[in-house]
């Protein structure tokens, strides 16, 4: 009956978004009078897996077959579906990510489960199973009843504040039969920025738009991001012009972020950009045009030249 949580590792450590998913799953389990079980797929250090207990999981199922070492949405979904069956889980929680997105839909198909994506709060169980999810790219919320027997929740970053419990989870090997049909995709090349803070995981984001005038000027954006330990992002025109890679494009047709702090420099704030960032906790807008529409949605604003303001902010952060 337990609540099952799919947990992702990054460089051997449980991802921050997955810590949140475990904590969320444990809360849901508590509401349902059961416990939370984490599922980890692929090679992992047993000590690290036990730390899932610190976020509320009582047990970790570890599927360590070497065929599962490379992320594979189809195969991973099959493993999680098998885990759900073994545990009799009626609720599966995942933190949104490119891997989890690929898995969640396939899981919904396998388990014939009601799936809610972009869930932003704990469910309401007083009359069935109701979740609050973000829709219209953050322009609204829908209270959605999951009417199927099995429910899958893909939660958005910053859905719940994690409180560490100090607990430790028992780790069990999990070896479901693997399905050859799940290994039909061949990855021939991977390009991934290393060492940087990943945008969808970032608590702090420094973003810039056409006001930066050209890709050669991004140094001042990167300097502030580095000083803060933030990820960098950009507006759609900047990505369309190839000044910055597409995976940095934030907005309605790009990545939707919900960090604690989003600093927008030289971005006017078109409704499509706003849609991708308006669930950020604190929005800072820096623009030389006092009429820029973004100021209306901001918490803090500076009317000024980004080429002067950004370096001053960087210095101020370094002086902290």
């Amino acid at each position: 009956m337990s609540v099952l949580v799919f947990v992702e590792l990054d460089e051997g450590k449980i991802k921050k978004s997955s810590q949140e998913a475990i904590f969320y799953g444990a809360k849901v389990a508590e509401m349902m009078g059961t416990s939370a079980t984490a599922v980890v797929v692929g090679g992992a250090d047993q000590g690290e897996l036990a730390t899932a207990g610190n976020f509320g999981a009582t047990k970790v199922l570890h599927a360590a077959d070497s065929k599962l070492n490379e992320p594979n949405g189809m195969a991973y979904a099959s493993v999680v579906a098998a885990a759900a069956q073994q545990e009799g889980a009626k609720v599966v929680v995942l933190a949104k990510s490119s891997l989890a997105d690929a898995m969640a839909a396939r899981l919904a198909g396998k388990l014939k489960a009601g799936l809610a994506a972009n869930v932003i709060d704990l469910p309401e169980l007083s009359s069935g199973f109701r979740v609050k999810r973000s829709i219209y790219t953050g322009k609204a919320f829908a209270f959605t009843d999951l009417t199927a027997d099995t429910k899958i929740l893909a939660i958005k970053k910053n859905t719940i504040e994690v409180a560490e419990t100090g607990g430790s989870a028992s780790v069990e090997a999990f070896s479901p039969a693997l399905n050859d049909g799940d290994f039909g995709l061949k990855v021939t090349n991977t390009e991934k920025a290393t060492g940087d803070v990943l945008l969808p995981e970032a608590d702090l984001v420094v973003s810039a738009g056409r006001g930066l005038k050209g890709p050669e000027n991004w140094g001042i954006v990167e300097d502030l991001a580095r000083a803060l330990g933030a990820a960098t992002a950009c507006s759609k025109p900047v990505s369309d012009l190839d000044w910055r890679p597409h995976h940095e494009h934030v907005g309605q047709t790009g990545i939707k972020v919900s960090p604690n702090l989003y600093i927008a420099a030289g971005i006017s704030g078109a409704i499509q950009h706003l849609a991708g960032v308006n669930s950020s906790k604190v929005l800072v807008v820096i623009n030389k045009d006092p009429e820029a529409p973004f100021f209306k949605s901001a918490d803090y604003g500076i009317v000024g030249d980004v080429f002067e303001v950004l370096p001053r902010l960087t210095k101020a952060v370094q002086a902290l």
Binding site: D101, A102, G114, A117, K132, A193, H247, I271, L320
Partner: protein
Amino acid sequence: MKILVCVTSVPDTTTKITFTDNNTKLNKAGVQYITGPYDDYALARAVELKEQSGASVTVLTVGEVDAEPVIRKCLAIGADDAIRVNADPADAYFVAEQIAAIAKENNYDLILMGRESIDYNGGQVHGIVAEMLGIPSISPVMKLDISGNTAKMTREIEGGKEDLEANLPLVLGCQEPIAEWKIPNMRGIMTARTKPLKVVQPTGQETLTKVASYELPAPRGAVKMIPADQAETLIQLLRTEAKVI
């Protein structure tokens, strides 16, 4: 090659969303409907593949009669024929079931759609359809080339991208820059009027989710402006007042 492109009819990206009937219905007054922007990329790539190597392109939507202008536009852009499943696309599983039922009858080599619809942003339908058909699904696909029975793709991942290869048939969720959006020309618009648009009734009625009500985000408080020559104050405020750094 037979390509199925699934499209959604969604409020224009500039729409200010509001609700009526005690927050249980979208206020459609003044809302302009468009083809889902991601679906538009999928369609554009399908039409390019047709132009390059000869393929048939069928466009499919699950929607009520008011979705037909979007379908006609897809035909004007270059799809050969269209199917509309006459139902409210209220639930991802229900929509996927309709697509899978039509796909089973017609054996498409490629099923393309946007990575997500921009109304509910679920990004689920391609994965559920693929699961129902027992074939791979890949999303979000930024580049697609077909040679023989093999698809070569580039997919966006966190902080980068990866190149993939797989055999057809496949279900793909698409996004920019897989192709340039196409604008229908006059000849396309004229021929679209006579291209076949078949309306079919849905298979089953089963839904697994149901929206009870909607809510708009709480407005933010008034913006606090900081003079540019005191920019450093911002960092202090972010630390002591907002407590985010």
